[in-house]
Symmetry: D2
Subunit: 335 residues, 4 copies
């Protein structure tokens, strides 16, 4: 019997120093729908995200990721998951969630890579009312008529800041029942992992960037409905002054079509189409090698900017004092 | 913790009275790859099917489905699944599988709808050697350069032959851990169910056709890589003399792009693109109504031929004497 | 040396009794860009239309087409073209054009099918300034971020109201140097013609509808950049409450992908992708037959609503008193 | 009245030192159809090419272009065109054509850039008989079920070998009624021209490569039916061991989607989708600047390999003794 504690990545909170421009990007170019605002945060969703929002954008003095939220499969799985993070000394305690948006209380923890995760069971299916209600009864809302109509949140790709950070992060994620589908190594060293709880090629990936700076974001990714939307997005990006940092391309790892852009706030956002579904129970992770396979793991065809990957990753987000303190206490890192 | 006994639909065996024409269809038009032949059967696969074959085509005097094979999540899950079918008196015993193709022994049973199912644990991941080996390391083989390059087996859609048959079939499938995503009702009566074990909108569907004839096939479906492949297939189908029986369309139920054709042997084969991923743990099935929603559940846009659905389903395959005997014994049906 | 008096269809003026809804359709769903308003008219353009506008939408008490504007290849060609329409007694005199939009004076005439045409030489290339200026230097403006981003005006399809009207219309259009690419006949009678001056499969088509009512519009068509935009438009149309009257389909005649919708004002608007380029100098028109070829000339695959074509064409627009008077005088028709 | 002597690019003859591999590329990967063989040449066509063949592949000891064939608009236009090339001292005399393929006698000449051109009037429309006959009556043949189904010949891109060669080539092409749509300059110097006789953005382009070696080929281009075919081709190219030298990308100049590959024989072959139609009579060429616009003229998004463009163009084909002699005599070049 398959052993899954987590059902899916539910939402990601990212930071931006340019909230208006960032919102223009997500709403007018990607076509996400705004479902609410609170304080300095705006809640957005793709037309096929099952819960109220999949992206929380919060104004800040820097770019970066603030919180990653996973839903568990049941209340018991929540308890079991909490026990796992606590047994690693990573637990940070409960927060109340966003009850007015159908998201109940969650248990926060720090990943050994430094990012803040949250485990939630109580989460209500969202469906639009009024004019945005779709006639496709399972579709949560009509497709917005803006931009490329990003469909739903696909995955988040995070950095681990040193070898130990990477090893411990992967170890924890496996215990939280992530299935590792593909691995990248550099010589003898494993430097990146693509994994999922939801049966896709990846709903989470983590790679080594030996910067010593914890909690850094590689990118956040949304799916699109059509491969042509990737081409259409490339057109929007270039002509509306956004910087494409990779693609259109097809990844060797995950076998998906991709396009990376730096949104005005500095975060790298990927659009994805295709890629495999993989629920093979006894899957052995595929291993790629940066030497043997050169860059084909990243772009089997197409291209990415040199600066995008490993070495000078973007965005180079600064770490807040609050987070530094948690990292010092929980991870024992000197920062 | 999610409770899944079955990991996925592994393969389907269909019958054809015109083996050469049927193979031309699957190989030259759909672009499936032939991996072997045995007796009167040919084994085919899409370029992204994980196991050796997903379609077994067997020469016969009629069209129809002969066997549906599911893989379990583990050896223990195989035992548990067998116990379930046996507790319903539906077990038919072991067969040896196709060991030379990496498919081990399986336990056969009859569905209350009359089709023969098989449960298998031992199944080896398949990867091409030689010229067909892909550089995408997770991709089992290169895309063939023929036809529309159907990607992998998506689902099978079967008929139940009366109300009781439908109810019992759904009951059994739920016990085998299928998750029901959408339901169609006609007035007060539920007449069709879309369900999955693999996290998609459906890898199995069953609908009522009160013909009294058990074991009938509605259609078998393969995924394509690009939405444009649906359009390209429509072009091939019409210009090469095949009969499109529905589409291009977008289903209301499952929210996927679709095209139905009658292959030369008489079976209806669907191509699919898109559709949602749904691993929501507490999902309540969406219910459509043939009156309230008219045909939108079937085609939200696009069109299908009248004859295709309910009433005069195709193909009207005759039932073999051997199967009749099983149906009489196991299901107590008078045929 | 090729003999072309006209270079291209420059714009079409259509009428609508629901100006706000019609504008929502063209701007939010099709993604046309508004370049100006005057009196009861709004001027719209696709991002790749070369002149200021390709669609003029005018509020009226009915749907329909008011004016069809063609540009000539030179000033001399304008004079020659005027001589042709005048020699047929169809001339209606000059109008001043839209000088503030770069469209100079034009000579109006009535087609033997009853619609008003206009011949213009003076027409300025349009290019956006400011934020809408595209970095693609030949592209007149950025792609709007709304709807399906209709690219440019493709063609207009008009009705002739009886046999003589059709014959005379085609005769005139040939003299104006349209090249007939394909013809539809019903038994011995030719009932529709697809023709072009711009090298495509058609930038104009005319078919017989023996209603006796002159000046009726079949539909107006815009191109889209991607085939998937046809599918995306079908999704928008159905989910936002618009009535698809045909498609997605591929025409037998012109070999193009198509989708027909009735916009809120009642006019049928088509989106087109692909179709052939045909500059073969000695091309003999292809002839289709409604009996022999059934409906394949209209939809080689896909489908249209019965009511759409011949018999009960839409929209059934009423004829204004002013136009009736012109029709009586110039065409000698009793209406 | 538009002044066109030539109607279209009818065919291109290219050379290859690896005829079998080159044919595998064009037939199995691009999906061109073989219509005949003669001596060391094979004749190929896309499914929508109007004449018998658009590509003649001839075995040789090098890659390169051997002959470029244009059809005139009439017999008189043929005479007028011949007079133009003769008045420049570039005429080389008649050849008999390929009468068994419907291509009559043609007049050969040398372009000031060194390539051999041919002017033909007598050319028969080609339509498949038998199984390949399409039901789309205007479509010359069914789409082959192989590869990406390249649709038809789009354009040829040639090099001029010094400044004077470029200037004289463009001058001649303008007299032959090519319309220049876009120009690239480097500082004050114009170094490339995109032009057409058929109303598209380009059916011919020429750029400066100051190698001093005449008659060199930049690339030959075919159109595809769907934008996704560009992505599909990229997949085939990489996985079947072909070297992509540029793309998938969208050109700034011509606004078209593109993918460049080096076929096994060494010639660069481009696939194209989209791009504008431009029959504007008083079009002023758009001018791009390599400094101001950087590489956006070549790839507005996407990427090409450094080596592909200007500097080390591919393929570096050797010039035959026969051609050298013609170049010396007709162009007065020292080689």
């Amino acid at each position: 019997m398959v052993n899954k504690l987590l059902s899916q990545l539910a939402s990601v909170e990212i930071l931006t120093p340019k909230i208006d421009d960032t919102l223009w990007f997500f709403k007018d170019i990607l076509g996400l729908h705004e479902v609410g605002r609170k304080d300095r945060s705006v809640y957005l969703r793709g037309w096929e995200d099952w819960y109220a929002y999949s992206l929380k954008v919060t104004e800040s003095d820097t770019a970066g990721v603030k919180e990653i939220v996973w839903r568990t499969y049941s209340e018991k799985d929540l308890i079991d998951s909490i026990n796992i993070v606590n047994s690693n000394g990573l637990g940070l305690g409960w927060d109340e969630g966003e009850p007015d948006m159908g998201v109940g209380k969650g248990y926060k923890f720090i990943l050994p890579s430094g990012q803040i995760g949250k485990l939630v069971w109580e989460m209500k299916i969202w469906r639009a009312s009024g004019e945005l209600r779709s006639g496709y009864k399972a579709r949560p809302m009509k497709k917005p008529t803006k931009g490329v109509q990003a469909k739903d949140l696909s995955h988040i790709f995070i950095f681990a800041y040193n070898d130990e950070s990477l090893a411990k992060t992967v170890e924890l994620l496996k215990r939280l029942t992530f299935k590792v589908n593909e691995i990248l190594k550099e010589g003898d060293k494993r430097i990146a992992y693509w994994m999922a709880v939801n049966g896709t090629a990846h709903d989470l990936a983590v790679s080594l960037d030996p910067s010593g700076v914890p909690a850094r974001l590689n990118h956040v990714t949304f799916n699109v409905d059509y491969a042509d939307d990737i081409l259409k997005a490339a057109d929007f990006y270039t002509d509306y002054g956004l910087e494409i940092v990779g693609g259109p391309l097809r990844h060797g790892i995950t076998d998906s079509h991709s396009l990376y852009v730096k949104e005005p706030g500095g975060n790298v956002i990927e659009l994805l189409h295709g890629g495999y579904l993989n629920v093979v129970p006894d899957w052995e992770p595929i291993v790629w090698d940066t030497k043997e396979d050169e860059n084909r793991w990243l772009y089997y065809w197409g291209h990415v900017k040199e600066a995008f990957w490993h070495g000078s990753p973007i965005p180079a987000n600064r770490v807040s004092d609050e987070l530094k303190e948690i990292v010092r206490q929980k991870l024992g890192a000197k920062i």
